[in-house]
């Protein structure tokens, strides 16, 4: 009762990294609240394959639902599992990845339990809340902090009266870490048919195709990123050349992705990937809030922009005022000269 739950999502028998990131965050929240961290995972043929990918992050109790039809994910069976499990366990918090699966499952579960859900949180904290209208005071609520209005404001959302308090978080926003404290590490294998009705298996997956990621933007130590100022897809070729030399990954702003200069899986920002590199080289990026929110934790920021007043320059360590066409070839040239 009253514990923190994390829904762990899988591809085959591999637990998603975002779920591990949320386990680490969930462990911290559980410690603050003095409760246990529980995890739930559902799939087919996952028993003794997923436990060791979940327990090390400080899980006190893991519920493994293993049956035919639970992978690939479809909405209804996974909803049944969470809704019926939560009716028994009455958690106070439930976290899941803001992935295609989490954004399909979370709202369905929240609607069924009439509990509040906040999408794409960038921070989660515990704190008190006073309802100005009713005068009621609440302690230990989950602050669900998220950007709103296209990233122009940040709102703190609370669910005072409904449980569980549900939130989704994008991959890479939280950092995963094996838990060094003590956790109970209990594993249970509930009988799936007690939770899922046979009618739930109504959507049939004919074809499920997932490719390994083409890049490791999230974990890159150097990111070369391009904006609308790159001008074209060909403009991005320069960035790939520079990135190759520096052993960096290439990212993009939403404006560049929307313009078709770069594939959308490389988008950095609130609606894309969050990165934490040692060096971030922003090329022709003006620096809308929604972009900066996804890269502001970079240790060193270098901005290349023909506009000396571009907003991104305010948070940059180095500003190179000039056109990308002029500066990037020079960076390539002098790197080749000096790195020998």
């Amino acid at each position: 009762m009253n514990n923190v739950f994390v829904y762990c999502e899988i591809e085959g028998t591999v637990v998603a990294e975002v779920s591990q990131e949320l386990l680490t965050k969930g462990r911290k929240l559980a410690n603050t609240l003095g409760v246990e961290l529980h995890a739930v995972v559902a799939g087919t043929g996952i028993k003794s394959k997923v436990e060791e990918q979940i327990l090390p992050y400080g899980v006190d109790k893991l519920f493994v639902f293993d049956a035919d039809g639970l992978f690939p994910y479809t909405s209804a069976p996974h909803t049944d599992i969470l809704v019926n499990l939560f009716k028994e366990e009455k958690p106070q918090i439930c976290l899941m990845g803001a992935t295609v699966i989490g954004r399909d499952l979370g709202p369905r579960v929240s609607s069924s339990l009439t509990s509040g859900l906040t999408a794409d949180c960038t921070e989660l904290e515990i704190g008190p809340y006073d309802d100005a209208k009713t005068g009621q005071h609440f302690d230990n609520l989950l602050y669900q902090i998220r950007p709103a209005f296209g990233g122009n404001i940040v709102a703190t959302i609370v669910n005072p009266e409904h449980r569980p308090q549900m939130a989704t978080v994008r991959s890479g926003v939280m950092q995963k870490a094996v838990y060094e404290g003590k956790a109970k590490g209990e594993v249970v294998y509930p009988e799936v048919s007690k939770y899922v009705s046979p009618e739930a298996f109504v959507v049939k997956v004919l074809d499920h195709h997932v490719e390994a990621a083409k890049h490791n933007l999230k974990g890159a130590s150097i990111v070369v990123s391009g904006g609308y100022g790159m001008g074209s897809r060909e403009g991005f070729d320069m960035l790939f050349e520079l990135a190759k030399l520096l052993h960096a990954e290439v990212g993009a702003s939403r404006a560049a992705v929307d313009a078709g200069f770069c594939d959308n899986d490389r988008q950095i920002g609130q609606t894309g990937v969050t990165v934490h590199p040692k060096v971030y080289i922003a090329c022709g990026i003006s620096g809308q809030i929604q972009h900066i929110a996804g890269m502001q934790d970079s240790k060193i920021i270098i901005s290349i922009n023909s506009d000396p007043d571009a907003p991104i320059n305010k948070i940059a360590d180095y500003v190179i005022v000039g056109t990308v066409e002029e500066v990037i070839p020079k960076l390539i040239k002098y790197y080749k000269q000096n790195s020998k």
């Binding site: 609607s111 906040t118 404001i153 004919l206 270098i302």
Partner: protein, 289 residues
């Protein structure tokens, strides 16, 4: 097979094109400075609906929207593209709704419409980016759901085949109707407005959009299709306790403007000397390898 399709669509502030006066000095959103537009993903949903209509004679496409009276514009723009009808849910009691209260209102209206085979909607709206309303409507109606759809490949014997985007790939699924399908922005773009339909519907309005003593009263009497459906909470037999702010489990505690920590930066030019210098500095300090 003739289908009854309802498309959920929303009028949203254009958060992608935020100007300098979009925020008030107090850090709140200046809605008046943001133009109201047709939510982009919802246009992709309209296109899928119109394609199904073309392939399945006798199919009707209706557009359901919730908002202030001016959101009647969403219905008009849908009619211009080939939708058959629309409903505007408008009532002060609907105001301040979070996604759960919104989906309650929409689900109640869909029940009132009755006999709906397929509910389509955009994956998400750009003012909230939550993607929650589609699945919540599905749950409230007890319907199957498919989210992130890129193309509805066909509908046969009451089963839709849908290609959808998933993280790092794609999937093809079969879903029996009735169902809720949300359409991704990467789906086919919506067709443009049709000039003849614009001529036909340009005066189509909801009663609340009309000024008192409207000079077109005679026209409306003569052409009933110019009067758009406008429903209040009572019209859809809604429970006021589940609508609007009252029906919203989530509360906004605080809203703050984003201020980034400014850094002291070193400004360089694009000269060879400056670029050579910064590369040497970064290499010497082992910032780059």
């Amino acid at each position: 097979m003739a289908l009854k399709i309802v498309v959920l669509a929303k009028q949203v502030p254009d958060t992608r094109n935020v100007g300098k006066d979009a925020m008030t000095p107090e850090g709140t959103v200046n809605r008046a400075a943001l133009p109201a537009i047709f939510n982009p993903d919802d246009l992709n949903a309209i296109e899928q609906a119109l394609r199904i209509k073309e392939q399945n004679p006798g199919t009707t496409v209706g557009v359901l929207t919730m908002g202030p009276p001016r959101a009647g514009e969403i219905i008009r723009q849908s009619l211009y593209r080939g939708a058959d009808t629309g409903w505007l849910l408008t009532d002060r009691l609907f105001a301040g709704a979070d996604t759960l209260a919104t989906s309650y209102a929409l689900a109640t209206a869909i029940k009132k419409i009755g006999g709906v085979d397929l509910v389509l909607g955009g994956r998400q709206a750009i003012d909230g980016d939550t993607a929650q309303v589609g699945p919540q409507v599905a749950e409230k109606l007890g319907l199957n759901q498919v989210t992130y759809a890129e193309e509805i490949l066909g509908i046969e014997n009451g089963v839709a085949t849908v290609r959808r985007r998933i993280d790092g790939g794609q999937e093809t699924v079969k879903v029996p109707l009735p169902a809720v399908i949300t359409v991704n922005g990467s789906a086919a773009p919506c067709r443009p407005q049709n000039a003849k339909l614009v001529m036909k519907y340009k005066y189509a309005t909801c009663p609340l959009e009309r000024p008192e003593g409207d000079p077109r009263a005679d026209l409306y009497a003569e052409r009933p299709y110019l009067t758009l459906n406008q429903w209040s909470v009572a019209d859809v037999d809604g429970d006021p306790a589940q609508c609007g702010l009252a029906g919203s489990p989530t509360k906004v505690k605080t809203v703050r403007n984003i201020v980034f920590q400014a850094k002291e930066s070193k400004t360089l030019t694009s000269s060879d000397a400056d670029i050579d210098g910064i590369i040497k500095e970064l290499l010497n300090e082992k910032i780059i390898g």
